[in-house]
């Protein structure tokens, strides 16, 4: 049996393509959505879901991470930094991934260089906030297509 799309199906396909095109056209300064675009295979809703998941979970992880720093729990910090690496890389921030990798390495040293670590954490946090703001803005732009 041959599937003949109706007008509703055609409109849905056109809408999905348009939404994906809007994601492709986003010009971002702090993150690259290339990985998510490749992974999604053209599904803008998936990309949106991934960005929203990051926006909803990452701030909590960052707060936990800062608490571990206060407690000087280097072991747990190294594990948290390790987890950050893959989240940051999926969301497309190479710089955040590098900061997380550097912090993980510092935490694993026998006597961690705390001053260096705090410098890395400070820079990571500052960039993290910029990434969050940029992603929040991207979500708004993608959602404009839903109006």
């Amino acid at each position: 049996m041959v599937f003949i799309p109706g007008l509703k199906d055609i409109l849905l396909i056109l809408y999905k393509n348009y939404k994906y095109m809007k994601v492709e056209q986003l010009r971002l300064k702090y993150v690259s959505l290339d990985y998510l675009l490749e992974l999604s295979g053209g599904d803008a809703d998936f990309i949106l879901d991934m960005i929203l998941t990051f926006l909803n979970t990452a701030p909590g992880y960052m707060t936990d991470f800062e608490l571990l720093r206060e407690q000087k729990d280097w072991y747990k910090m190294s594990r948290a930094a390790h987890k950050f690496k893959s989240s940051f890389s999926v969301i497309g921030s190479d710089s955040l991934t590098s900061y997380a990798a550097a912090i993980e390495k510092l935490c694993k040293e026998e006597v961690p260089d705390v001053a260096e670590m705090d410098r890395e954490i400070g820079e990571m946090k500052s960039l993290f906030l910029q990434v969050m703001a940029e992603l929040e803005d991207s979500v708004k732009k993608i959602k404009e297509t839903e109006a």
Binding site: Y35, E38, L39, S40, G41, F46, D49, M50, T53, F54, T57, R79, H82, K83, K85, S86, S87, S89, V90, I91, A101
Partner: protein, 121 residues
């Protein structure tokens, strides 16, 4: 194939699940090692894809359980971060069949999983 994916990171889990479903597989998820071991003991899987650093039981314990204790012949792919090659070697020593670095290449994941599909069919 029925695939168990084990990772405690939501983004990575979503990414893997999405890709594997797109490739036509059925996907179960475990967010820690303890849950994974329970599922492996109770259910049938054609493939397990597991991260190493997990709460409760780590990925190496999962590999060890599957390959040396469970009596089940399930292929295992280890998910590892770049630069964690030593851990991957430990996984291979325990019997792991393959590994994928995070963030994974979607095409590579599909191809590597397909190899096991052929082997189990």
């Amino acid at each position: 194939m029925r695939i168990l994916v084990v990772d405690d990171e939501e983004l990575m889990l979503k990414a893997l699940r999405f890709r594997l479903l797109k490739d036509g597989h059925s996907v179960e998820i475990a967010i820690d090692g303890r849950e994974a071991l329970k599922l492996i003991a109770q259910e049938r899987f054609d493939l397990v894809i597991t991260d190493i650093m997990l709460p409760f039981n780590n990925g190496l314990e999962i590999v060890d359980y599957i390959k040396n204790k469970s009596g089940k012949n399930i292929p295992v792919i280890i998910l590892s971060a770049v630069g964690a090659e030593n851990v991957v070697l430990e996984g291979f020593a325990l019997g792991a069949d393959d590994y994928i670095t995070k963030p994974f290449s979607p095409v590579q994941l599909s191809v590597r999983v397909k190899r096991f599909e052929k082997a189990t069919s």
